[in-house]
Amino acid sequence: MRHLMSPLDFSVEELNQLMDLANDIEAHPEKYAHACAGKKLATLFYEPSTRTRLSHEAAMLNLGGNIMGFSSAASSSATKGESVSDTIRMISCYADICAIRHPKEGAPMVACQHATIPVINAGDGGHQHPTQTLTDLLTIRSLKGRLDHLKIGLCGDLKFGRTVHSLINALVRYDNIEFVLISPEELRLPSYVRKDVLDKQHIPYEEVVRLEDALPELDLLYMTRVQKERFFNEEDYVRMKDFYILDKKKMTLAPEDMLVLHPLPRVNEISVEVDEDPRAVYFKQVQYGVYVRMALILTLLNIKVE
């Protein structure tokens, strides 16, 4: 039985198959409308995450399946002291597949060791969030037509942003990838990613502080939010939160075919006026998130649709 713990669980070839399937779902949704009839997805969310939970649930409902689960630890047996391993054993008797989000890193790994159904890691603390990475890859491949030969700007909180770390790990497997790391000094990409991933694999990158300097040469700009919960004091957060604001004026510096992605939710880092720009694809990205999760559910349940 197969689970999804990390975006690197799938080989490049398997990822291509998954994305081909997602694109077929996008083109022919009716073909898949009953593919999971009679199947149940359990969403075990030990911490609230409306977007990720609803995206998984929408994916299962689009496939004609059913959903069940809880949306916070408070409404689960965790408050009674039940372990993850006991909960997943029980859920395995109720559902056919599950998506788990947990504040503790590695909780989905514990779940998959005891589950008799496929487990999807829907985010574990600051560790992994593989379905977001699959979403990002599918968005780039669908709208850019390729995942290689790209110059990618990563902007904002590169220190704590796990989506950025996962995306880097996933993209370095493709040819001719180049990164421009745009962040204030305090939120630089950690050395374990710079040295252990980029330097080790000889991936070209440059670090800049000004977004305007990087914009003219990018194929893709991946914006991130400065997350309040990562800061120990309010003062530092306030100083950092509006460090980057992408607005209409800055977008004039960007190439005409550059895409702007964002894992959402956004706060101030992308001005609302940019939403109308055809290069702003972050809401399309949300839609691709549903397609890729539909493809993932079908793949993990080993359901083939002719």
Binding site: V84, S85, H102, P103, K104, G106, V110, G125, Y192
Partner: protein
């Protein structure tokens, strides 16, 4: 004049762990769970060594198949493991870094599931042999021996 010397006799079957860094023998005693064995164990601390200045030695009198010595590769792969049979050294075991270590070291990451999940094994996986890097199987936090 008779010098004060400490003599520990030969063992007929078992192991002699030599060239242990001075002061590390009790740690090894604990990790090999020698306290659980009903056999004769001698720990020699701070023995003179031409190579190391001072060293520790552990002699274990036991059947050679009852102890798993792989963990020694993680603790210190410079230790010499002599395998004894009929009071003679019959072979030396080459120590390698174990691929996986279970319940020997603990994950220090407070955000790791091992910090709250009941009776969960602490498992570390060798992710970079060249640089001797072990990471927690669950949260992938790097093990930092200076924090132990």
């Amino acid at each position: 004049m008779v010098k004060n010397t400490l003599n520990i006799g030969k063992i007929s079957e078992g192991f002699v762990l030599d060239h242990i860094q001075a002061g590390k023998s009790m740690e090894i005693y604990k990790h090999l769970r020698l306290d659980k064995l009903d056999c004769c164990v001698a720990i020699i601390k701070n023995a003179k060594s031409s190579k190391m200045g001072k060293k520790d030695i552990i002699k274990i009198e036991c059947p050679i198949d009852i102890i798993d010595l792989d963990i020694l590769g993680f603790i210190d792969h410079n230790i010499t493991v002599n395998i004894i049979s009929d009071e003679q050294i019959v072979s030396k075991k080459e120590l390698r870094l174990p691929k996986e270590i279970k319940n020997v070291i603990k994950c220090k990451n407070p955000r790791c599931i091992t910090s709250i999940e009941q009776e969960l094994d602490h498992v570390f996986v060798l992710t970079d042999e060249e640089n001797e890097v072990y990471r927690c199987k669950y949260c992938e936090e790097k093990y930092d021996s200076s924090q132990s």
